[in-house]
């Protein structure tokens, strides 16, 4: 395939890279006064990228750049969700950044560049492109975490994220170099071939352990989750909203693609590792969140727990398991964005409030917000009619079908424990004495996002679950 033809398949990434640079130049010339316009242009750019992904030319599955980059149903599914989540994150930030006098033109550009890194991750089929995708995304995220550079907590969050991220990259690279040493190739297809032929894969598995550690850090799965609560709490709230959605999906997609396409031959060796990470994450998510008073920290532990449930599907290792991970992550991203839209609406005079106690008696002061948040919390907990329940349902069924009944049982128990702290907030909102009311004027973006997300969780996705499962099933099938 010639370069010109190759590039037609990489249109979304090219558009993001070139567009981000053009916006950066525009931002530098127009100054920070134009940051609002740059934000809007970035959102348009991301939506154009969604269009380019959906209406890609030619065959569905194609490998580019000597097997470094693959465009298939899986990457298409992941990229659409990543770009949409990034676009919504930019829209949700505008008002907050303007209020905190952080409205700078680099902010949306960095989110676009992070989205570029994430889409490279979703398409990576080589250890080198895997690492470079991760670094592109992470570097942009480190900067975003400390974007409020005059705040001690924000800079601390950025520094912590950077140092621990560098450590995890080191582990990932060490694992990658061991895998390369034992298989003699960096491409996933080549590794799979060597692993299938070799009699003894001990060296490969040792490398794989380090690789999995590095990837587990990126999805913030226990025991590599320590950074999450501090970074979520310290970073500016819209940045946290972004962190909790798109990067999680991208890292999980990369995790799934790496394990299912490069080392399916040694699944008996990596399945227990992934299963243990899943159990540990669910336990940390369920028990550590109980004692939290800060809602951003609570969401951090909640996301750790959710990664645990998603990893159950990966531990199954089947096509059904992969499709259940995609369903779970899609629902997770949608409800997390909604939950953070609600958190961004918890505004009193003098800024955002972050304590769970501030939500007390919300039904008496702000009924619409209370209803939205109740639906989202029910969905996060996985209570039956909501979409969150179906996500868990598919994951547990994939585990049972792969003879991992014990894992499914632990998952059910953990979700029962975690339901406690979600429902505790619902209790506060409905039956406690009211705290002072929040400001009503929060802008149309947050209201629409929150309503949209809540409507998706119940009843839209409940009704259209079949459509989502079909899309995820097609996407997963392209990996096998």
């Amino acid at each position: 395939m010639g370069l010109a033809e190759t590039l037609t398949y990489a249109w979304p990434e090219l558009a993001l890279a070139v567009g981000a640079m053009a916006l950066l130049i525009a931002g530098v010339f127009l100054g920070n006064g134009a940051s609002k316009h740059i934000s809007l242009a970035s959102v348009v750019l991301l939506l154009i990228a969604v269009g380019l992904v959906l209406f890609a030319p030619g065959t569905a599955n194609v490998s580019l750049f000597d097997g470094a980059f693959r465009v298939d149903g899986f990457s298409t599914f992941a990229k659409v969700i990543i770009y949409l989540a990034a676009a919504i994150a930019i829209l949700m930030s505008d008002r907050y950044l303007a209020g905190e006098e952080l409205g700078r033109c680099e902010y949306p550009v960095l989110i676009v560049l992070a989205a570029l890194g994430m889409s490279l991750m979703a398409s990576a089929t080589d250890l080198i492109s895997l690492y470079m995708g991760i670094e592109t995304q992470s570097l942009a995220l480190y900067i975003l975490a400390s974007f409020n550079r005059d705040s001690r907590r924000s800079t601390e969050a950025g520094l912590k994220y950077f140092v621990l991220g560098a450590l995890s990259s080191g582990m990932l690279l060490y694992g990658a170099s061991l895998i390369y040493g034992f298989t003699g190739t960096t491409s996933f297809a080549g590794i799979a071939e060597v692993a299938a032929q070799a009699e003894n894969n001990t060296g490969l598995v040792i490398g794989l352990v380090f690789l999995i550690s590095g990837l587990a850090f990126k999805v913030s799965a226990a025991p590599f989750h320590m950074w999450t609560p501090d970074v979520y709490e310290g970073a500016p709230t819209p940045v946290t909203a972004f962190f909790a959605a798109a990067p999680k999906f991208a890292a999980m997609a990369l995790f799934v693609r790496t394990l299912t396409t490069s080392v399916p031959g040694v699944i008996d060796d990596w399945r227990p590792i992934v299963a243990m990470i899943a159990v540990a994450s669910m336990a940390v998510g369920a028990f550590s969140a109980i004692a939290q008073n800060n809602i951003k920290r609570l969401m951090a532990y909640s996301s750790i727990g959710h990664m645990g449930y998603a990893l159950i599907g990966l531990a199954a290792g089947t096509s059904q398991g992969v499709s259940s991970v995609l369903i779970y992550m899609a629902i997770y991203v949608a409800m997390t964005i909604g939950a953070f839209a609600c958190i961004l609406m918890m505004r009193r005079r003098g800024g955002l409030t972050e304590n769970i106690a501030d939500l007390a008696g919300l039904t008496k002061t702000n009924m619409p917000l209370a209803v939205i948040l109740t639906i989202l919390l029910f969905s996060l907990a996985g209570v039956p009619p909501t979409a969150g329940f179906f996500g868990k349902w598919y994951v547990f069924f994939a585990a049972v079908d792969a003879d991992l009944v014990w894992l499914a049982i632990i998952g059910v128990l953990a979700s029962a424990v975690s339901a406690f702290y979600y429902l505790r907030i619902v209790w506060f909102m409905w039956f406690d004495d009211p705290a002072p009311a929040f400001e009503r004027d929060t802008g149309p973006v947050l209201t629409v996002t929150a309503w949209g997300s809540a409507a998706l969780m119940f009843p839209v996705l409940t009704v259209f679950m079949g459509l989502l499962t079909r899309l995820a099933g097609d996407a997963a099938a392209s990996l096998f």
Binding site: A68, V109, L120, L139
Partner: protein, 209 residues
Amino acid sequence: MIAAAAFWIFAAAAILSGLMVIASKNPVHSVLFLISAFISAAGLFVLMGAEYLAMLLIVVYVGAVAVLFLFVVMMLDVDFVELKQGFLSYLPIGALIAAVVVVELIMVVFVWAFPSDAELKLAHPAPTAAQTVADPDGPNNIEAIGLILYTDYVHYFQIAGMILLIAMIGAIVLTFRVREGVRTQDPAEQANRAKEIELVDIRPGEGLS
């Protein structure tokens, strides 16, 4: 013969300057010895036929990293008297760790199965004539890298460029501050001051009256 002599000179210089990096009292001298070690290593690379790596070592490590070290060492006021306090109290445990490492090294060396000459030959077959004598008309190091970097590896090359761009944006976003009240020179404005300026031809010895 000359190559062997050059090897011994560079190798000895590398080891000696490496030793001096940790032995010299003055940290500035340490950094200077570090630069000398880098240059010796670059010489060794040239002898191995890796001239591109040698240049990289000079440009990146000597040109950038070592200068940065020098900067940091000179800017930080390191008090060595304070650093050396507690040296004696930590000596026993330090000596213990050192002893353990030495014992481990000895054990490793004694169980090391040195391959016989025949085995060595098997593992590293004698290079063919084409491998030992570089083809004078063929691509050299840099050309060879250039030939694949912009073709087979163009994907990685471009991503690396994006990563560097992000790093640059980050450095500017996190540290750059627009300072108020700074008087900067504006050449265009200066040149346009024609009306306020009067050119006077002053004769020597008379001055401006």
